[in-house]
């Protein structure tokens, strides 16, 4: 176990190093830069722009900028945002809660409904339900989320007036109920795609387990279908889902770009988009490293959990 962990951690560090170098270089190669936002401002003279460039340290060679940034990162200083001067970790932290709320609720919905649809689809293969679930999943995967979002706003906000058109809460009313009211539509819209993914994976995994010998044995022993399903099938079918969850968890924390924009949700996805738009290098790099670390960590945790649950896998 210790050997496995050390091996994976060293691999992860190399991976993070590669991600950071590529990210840093690519970001700095994009023409424009953080001062492009002043391009149309007649009051900014070339002297002013040069002065700002120097003050932000952007006139140094790229390798020097990278080493400086990496050294500070290792020491726990993720730098300061060019836009508002706040520490990068604070900027990320400010948006993390909003993202956790939205993505957390949509993930719970997606896993609960997706798992149920998947299992039912597998146990009632080629039934009307199964066909409907298959078509529904294809539709949900094919149509962009923002379309569902806009249709939802049109129908439930503008036409029916049942749900708010966006925002995390009504300004001046920060109650839990108000938050929940605002959470309903974006989390359902966001869950649609994930329900589709989960249901397809779950269906395949369940079918796979159903055809296994031990299920036939259980049947031969005369166990009820319900008991077989709950005791033998679901548990085993959920195993590959842990890996899937491990892969999806980072995206839960790094946000949903389009949905957050449509529903004016102040989460990480929108932060990423905004920071890219302003070429706010420290924040973009911070977000990149944040998600890279999450991917590495989540995969590691998923591997360990699977190994603990499934005795056939040995980490050593």
């Amino acid at each position: 176990m210790r050997g496995f962990l050390l091996n994976r951690l060293s691999q992860s560090l190399v991976l993070l190093l590669i991600v950071s170098v590529i990210g840093f270089v690519v970001l700095n190669l994009i023409p424009g830069g953080p001062l492009a936002q002043f391009g149309l401002d007649p009051s900014m003279t070339q002297d002013d722009l040069n002065r700002l460039k120097e003050q932000l340290g952007l006139n140094r060679p790229l390798w020097m900028q990278y080493l400086d940034w990496a050294w500070r990162l290792v020491q726990g200083d993720w730098g300061h945002s060019f836009r508002d001067g706040a520490p990068v970790l604070d900027v990320i932290g400010r948006h993390l809660v909003a993202t956790l709320l939205l993505m957390g609720s949509s993930t719970v919905i997606a896993i609960a409904i997706g798992t149920w649809i998947g299992i039912r689809g597998a146990t009632h293969r080629y039934s009307v339900f199964d066909y409907l679930a298959t078509v529904g999943a294809m539709v949900a995967l094919s149509i962009p989320t923002f379309w569902f979002g806009l249709v939802g706003i049109y129908v439930f906000s503008l036409r029916l007036g049942w749900l708010p058109a966006g925002n995390m809460y009504t300004i001046g009313d920060g109650s839990v109920l108000n938050h929940i009211h605002h959470l309903i539509m974006p989390s359902i819209v966001l869950a649609l795609v994930h329900v589709a993914i989960w249901s397809r994976y779950m269906r395949t995994a369940t079918l796979d387990v159903i055809s296994q010998e031990f299920v036939k044995t259980a049947r031969a022993k005369g166990l009820s279908e319900r008991r077989i399903l709950m005791k033998h099938v679901v548990g085993n079918a959920l195993l590959p889902m842990i890996t899937l969850a491990g892969m999806q968890l980072p995206s839960v924390l790094t946000g949903a770009l389009v949905t957050e924009t449509v529903f004016t949700w102040p989460g990480m996805g929108r932060l990423f988009l905004d920071s890219l738009g302003y070429s706010d290098y420290p924040v973009v790099m911070g977000l990149l490293m944040f998600s890279a670390i999450l991917v590495v960590l989540c995969n590691l945790i998923a591997d360990i959990v699977v190994a603990i649950i499934d005795p056939r896998i040995r980490l050593s």
């Binding site: 830069g33 007649p42 508002d84």
Partner: protein, 554 residues
């Protein structure tokens, strides 16, 4: 519903002159003239106004490098020495009068300035505002360690002397008339708080600013909104609303939807797009107004490209632009024809420039006469130069993209090839724009700083950054007569004399056509019915320039 015409100004030039000169004198005699109306003393601020912005304000230190959207917050939290009113007149704000050569505030040679301040102003933390704060502010801007916004004008200030808590003087390195206007966008910051900070770029103040303005800082929810509360001790008119909220909604369609659904009370400048104008006008309970902006949407030509060096080409292209059709068919009638870079609302606007006429035959004739002959592919050429160029604009702006396609077709009819090559805004306005790497580009450009007519940064030869200059003359326009006039204009304090200078500059630029104006910007501003006291002011960069005066009709 109201509709402000953008084609006629409702005041005479003489009125504006009187305002500029008399405003200061009047307020010197009665410093509290702009104070609270009698009823304001008894009524406490009530209600909340939510302003929708499509970019997020993030820079709250008003002297640090920032963009337009931050102004909405600065104008509410802070005060400058002077204020630019909707008619382009200078009014005293923290100063008791506007210094002029007539009242002795500015010496005859324009080099010695004296500013008198109000004596009844307090910072939000209760400390009195004094001349020491002004001195500190002006010195901070030129502090080499401070990430200041612009230093132009400020870098000429020398020997700031505090004469008394309400009076200070300084010397200018050279006469620079636009400095008065620059000071309308130079918000004063508190010395007693900022002098203690080791690094002014990372001061706690930057995240929770303390000003003298009508509203005080309340809280910020990053990525979402920020909230200000009324400052009951405000020395000026207002505030009448208790809370002012700036709500950030990045997508313009979503912003419009939230305006429709009533989540926001006012859309700040330019945030209802022209294609929503017709529908917006019919919304119940909403007032949608057309407001003139200071910028002019134009095709910028890179005059160092051989195609554009020939004035005949520029004239022919201008004649081949069906600008009326562009405004009517693509911009839903939102936009005003103009022949100059000067905003129509400016006192210095020259209304006597020759009007462009759309005439393809005339365009062909100009090119024929200049020797641009159609080649085998139908594209004209002269001395080995094909009349072909790329046009760039910000990608994702569908209205501008339609303009490009429209022009591409009409230009083809006169034997000119225009290709389209668009870039994201964050790329386009970097070196590509600033260092003149484009052939031609469509952009909405403001030439003036704080409504002063001085356009040196955009038009002077010394302002060509691609040639090592100090400004943003991205078209690389160079005309010695314009250079001389710009220099003279910047050193002239008399508005009437300046008007002549800038009128002449507009004539020359209209003749030279370094850029081809499409239309003067017109913004569709929407607000909820019952929100009173809102007034457009194209001389500032924000529709929230005077939130202190807003109130809900009871």
């Amino acid at each position: 519903m109201t509709k402000d015409s953008t084609t006629k100004s409702g005041y005479s030039r003489r009125d504006a002159l009187r305002l500029m000169a008399a405003g200061g004198i009047a307020c010197f005699a009665a410093p509290n003239l702009l104070g609270k109306p009698a009823f304001a003393d008894t009524a406490s601020p009530t209600g909340r106004v939510v302003v929708g912005l499509s970019q997020e304000p993030t820079v709250f230190h008003p002297l640090m490098a920032h963009i337009e959207v931050d102004d909405a917050v600065h104008f509410s939290l802070f005060d400058a020495l002077f204020r630019m009113d909707p008619k382009g007149g200078l009014q005293p704000n923290l100063a008791a009068e506007v210094p002029t050569q007539q009242n002795g505030g500015i010496s005859e040679d324009g080099l010695k300035w004296r500013v008198r301040l109000r004596d009844d102003v307090r910072w939000h933390d209760g400390e009195p505002f004094t001349a020491e704060d002004v001195k500190f502010t002006l010195e901070l801007i030129t502090n080499p360690n401070f990430r200041a916004w612009r230093t132009g004008g400020h870098s000429l200030v020398r020997d700031i002397t505090v004469v008394s808590p309400t009076e200070l003087t300084w010397r200018m390195e050279e006469a620079f008339a636009p400095y008065l206007s620059f000071l309308t966008e130079t918000f004063m910051v508190p010395k007693h708080i900022l002098e203690k900070e080791a690094d002014p770029n990372a001061a706690a103040f930057n995240q929770a600013p303390v000003g003298t303005g009508a509203f005080k800082w309340a809280q910020r929810v990053a990525g979402d909104h920020l909230e200000l509360v009324a400052n009951p001790q405000y020395f000026g008119d207002g505030p009448y609303v208790e809370r002012l909220v700036f709500k950030y909604i990045p997508d313009m369609t979503v912003l419009y939807t939230q305006f429709k659904s009533g989540d926001i009370d006012l859309t700040d400048q330019a945030y209802i797009t022209a294609d929503h104008y017709d529908e917006a006008k019919t919304l119940p309970g909403r007032v949608v107004t057309l407001v003139s902006g200071a910028s002019v949407e134009s095709i910028y030509l890179n005059l160092e490209k051989p195609q554009f060096k020939d004035p005949a080409v520029r004239k022919a292209l201008y004649a081949a632009m069906d600008r009326k059709a562009i405004i009517d068919a693509i911009y839903y009638g939102v936009g005003t024809l103009t022949e100059t870079f000067m905003p129509r609302t400016s006192y210095y606007y020259n209304p006597n420039l020759p009007a462009q006429e759309f005439n393809l035959d005339r365009a062909r004739q100009i090119l024929d006469e200049a020797g641009w002959v159609p080649g085998p592919d139908g594209i004209r050429a002269k001395d080995g130069v094909r009349l072909s160029f790329a046009n760039s604009t910000t990608s994702g702006n569908n209205l501008r993209e339609q303009v490009q396609q429209f022009l591409q077709q009409t230009f083809a009819e006169i034997g000119v090839e225009m290709t389209i090559s668009n870039l994201p805004a964050a790329v386009m306005f970097g070196e590509f724009w600033l260092k003149s790497q484009f052939d031609s580009a469509i952009a909405g450009v403001t030439h003036l700083i704080a409504a002063d007519p001085d356009a040196t940064n955009r038009l002077a030869t010394s302002a060509i950054a691609a040639k090592g200059g100090k400004g943003s003359n991205v078209g690389q326009y160079s005309n010695p007569e314009v250079d001389a006039l710009l220099k003279k204009g910047a050193q002239t304090f008399d508005p009437e004399a300046r008007r002549e200078i800038y009128s002449r500059i507009q004539e020359i630029v209209r003749e030279d056509l370094p850029f081809l104006p499409l239309f003067a910007a017109t913004y569709v501003v929407g607000r909820k019915e019952g929100l009173e006291g809102w007034e457009p002011n194209s001389n500032t960069r924000t529709a929230s320039w005077h939130a202190a005066g807003w109130r809900w009709q009871s």
